[in-house]
Symmetry: C2
Subunit: 335 residues, 2 copies
Amino acid sequence: MTTRPEHRPVRVLQYGMGPIGQACAHVLLDKARAGHVELVGAIDINPALVGQRVGPSDVTITSDVEASLQAARPDVVLHTTGSFLDKVKDQILCCARAGAHVISSTEELTFPYSKYPGISSEIDAVAKACGVVVIGTGVNPGYAMDTLALAATGVSASAQRIEVSRVVDASKRREPLQRKVGAGLTARAFRIRRDKGEFGHIGLRESLEVVATGLGWVLDEMVETLEPVLAVYPVKTDYFSVAPGEVAGILQTAVGSRNGHELIRLTLKMYLGAQDPVDRVRVHGVPPIDMIVKGGIFGDTATVGSLINAIPRVMDAPPGLHTVITLPVPRAFGV
Amino acid sequence: MTTRPEHRPVRVLQYGMGPIGQACAHVLLDKARAGHVELVGAIDINPALVGQRVGPSDVTITSDVEASLQAARPDVVLHTTGSFLDKVKDQILCCARAGAHVISSTEELTFPYSKYPGISSEIDAVAKACGVVVIGTGVNPGYAMDTLALAATGVSASAQRIEVSRVVDASKRREPLQRKVGAGLTARAFRIRRDKGEFGHIGLRESLEVVATGLGWVLDEMVETLEPVLAVYPVKTDYFSVAPGEVAGILQTAVGSRNGHELIRLTLKMYLGAQDPVDRVRVHGVPPIDMIVKGGIFGDTATVGSLINAIPRVMDAPPGLHTVITLPVPRAFGV
């Protein structure tokens, strides 16, 4: 097990300099002033970014992954390049083989075992052989609809059924997310593109499996739905104008059952102009729990927090592929 | 490290058969039906209890600790005999030496390092030598005002200050708790007995230290206050009648600061007839978080849940003295 260096900052390399990666890099530079971390490298393949400096630092963005890893010798790589594990697997393995822990925003890595048993085993084996931890996390999946749901059952003498809902006003989020929810399309166009798999939040099924696995609940059925939410009044954001009747966003659900009994229901509403953003976990059991995050958890900054806050817990964990189930209680890292 | 037996129920011994211990034993018997756990012994020194059967089980309450541990060979002891670590230390060590993990409701064990550095080292050393985990937990301290507060910062890109408040309607709780908050006394009698240390919730300082330590925040000042809450209208419970002007309960605070800046404030109101029971965590930072458990977490059953839910996480943890900071995210255990 790589142990946390007590007397020097954690060396962190940022792999992926899209909006989330840029934000991670800047928060890392902020935290570097207190001596907790040091940004030692930044990787992106975008030619428009390569060669640029990261903020006020000496770090220059490079596209040469192996050379960068070798030169920077990071303790930890924050990996933010894509949602789909099969597409980013080699990037993650490359970092692990360079001896770095990998904390990735790849949604499918949050709970990869069902969809990618082979890749999961391979990552676990490489991570163990290289003495590093690999984990997928973020605000959602990774926190709002899974870790928080588990934590809400932490004092349940008995938990029978769980409902998690997240309502996000997409008009306050970054442009890619607004596009991802289908803003401005007709319902018909939405459904056509939905059926091709072009829309929807990635990771709801992963959150469902995190909750079920964390609780030791064996599900015999998992059903997902994805429908458009239509605007009832005009909505205008910095990026989109949506007329009444056009798609404002998505209503997505994932429901897990056993023997015909619904045990876990996750409901995600993410649309432009959502009136009452909130995160809510209801545990039907003894005692009953109704936990609410007023106003909801603001996703863009929270994803950055989730990735960075995993750093010390990852460094103290035994090597291998982890999930949020196996790490200690999440908490803020650094000031 | 003692590893969790995969193919047999966890053997649990209940040490302390007061109200919480009795409730633990009965929830254990419930969960035993699903095969997760087995109640293998029960210990209490109360002569009125010794020799009695526990619920519909074959377990008989005994006062002979060592014989009981030897006969029952528990994997885990749930220990619920007292609040003060110096008074129960030998009980805990005795269980650890018998090779059992110890999950204790002893409030001072939730974070024992500052008040009892010597006892903490001794427990840690014995636990490691015997290959077992020892931990103190419960609903409060152990969850509502510390673990949950840490979890609320889980996606903070930056956390500057934390406020935790818990409002409990003591009229709905068990009799010892109503007595512990001074119900029915005059304010003068309350203050005299308070100054002798007879009143107040045990563990608020421990919760403060859990939050600070979990966040890596070094405090240079910790201040606690304890004042009576006076009834404004008559309150009658099954155990007490309180007239207006008499003590209905307590208002207790613990505040941690550094360089004169308040960083963490815990506020506990526990009184008969409290109108709006709630648990609330506010994280001042980026993103801001305002987390609320509506109606509050009902303490009597939640303490039982907290102790029992720690079982699988304790069995998977490396040996030694732990706190809620080092264990994985809490979640319900069994059905």
